[in-house]
């Protein structure tokens, strides 16, 4: 069975949602999602990869991409290999302050927290940031140095794209990647432990 999802002209996260929905309906076969921008291509590819499906991308004219996703028997368990330097832990940061209360204290606690994460092994496997938490990965953040060091060690650092967009700081991102709600939830769900800080 072949299905086509035309997600041209759709903005993030619509192409991912459309693809996911069709993939869920599809029992076996190939699904092709057509998008017209690179971000959507990346996000749809990431979705396919994270679900453990084989996929390939063809570039069409202009900025069009055809992402072919093969849904069938998943080749074994999609296992993520976690070396000793990492703990199977996701840290979810929903604010640029730690805890509720006075702003000054919250700021200083967050700095102190991130520093501690950087100084302690094993490292978390990923850190996801959302809402005002995304300020921490952007220009002007006082914890950039630590987050960059963590990223260099291999910790996956992901900032919520919707949030960067809302605060209008997408072009200020200095460390890690941009992600969407699917990946945020996936990081939380797939890790053995999730710690929420905010």
């Amino acid at each position: 069975m072949r299905i086509e999802v035309d997600a041209r002209g759709q903005v993030c996260p619509k192409p991912v949602i459309m693809t996911k929905k069709e993939l869920d309906n599809l029992s076996e076969g190939i699904l092709t999602t057509i998008v017209d921008n690179e971000v959507a291509k990346e996000n749809v590819s990431k979705l396919a990869g994270s679900l453990g499906y084989e996929f390939s991308v063809d570039k069409g004219k202009d900025n069009e991409y055809y992402i072919h996703i093969k849904k069938g028997e998943v080749n074994g368990e999609v296992s993520v290999c976690i070396p000793d330097t990492f703990k199977d832990l996701t840290i979810a940061i929903g604010s640029n302050k730690m805890g509720s209360g006075e702003e000054k204290l919250g700021n200083i606690l967050m700095k102190s927290f991130i520093y501690t994460v950087r100084e302690t092994t094993p490292y978390p496997s990923s850190i996801v940031l959302f809402n005002s938490g995304v300020y921490l990965t952007c220009e002007g953040s006082e914890v950039l140095e630590d987050l960059k060091a963590l990223a260099d060690e291999g910790v996956e650092i992901l900032s919520c794209g919707t949030c960067l967009d809302y605060y209008n700081i997408k072009d200020k991102l200095q460390v890690g990647g941009i992600t969407n709600m699917y990946s945020i939830y996936e990081k939380m769900r797939n890790a053995n432990n999730t710690v929420n800080i905010g």
Binding site: K104, I108, K111, S112, Y115, E145
Partner: protein, 88 residues
């Protein structure tokens, strides 16, 4: 393994630590606010870490009564061992 040395200023309270931060900022001394290392158990939970090259400027601030601090330490991380030596 790498050896890491730096200075640490501790404070009597969190408020003093926040105040200390703004003084360091004003003086343009590069610093990091960190949880007070376990080896220095006294004082409040937050401390300021700075490069040892700035030690003289930190001493100056202290002599000029500009910094309301509790202690100044030289902190050494060596092969996973930590030690703190009180300087002031």
């Amino acid at each position: 393994m790498k050896k890491d040395e730096f200075g640490v200023v501790t404070f009597k309270s969190t408020h003093h630590a926040i105040q200390g931060e703004s003084i360091f900022k004003k003086k343009e001394i590069s610093f990091r606010t960190i949880p007070t290392p376990r080896e220095i158990t006294v004082s409040c939970g937050l401390a300021i870490k700075f490069d040892l090259s700035a030690m003289d400027r930190v001493k100056e601030m202290i002599e000029g009564n500009e910094l309301d601090f509790d202690g100044v330490y030289k902190y050494v991380k060596n092969n996973g061992n930590y030690s703190a030596e009180r300087i002031i």
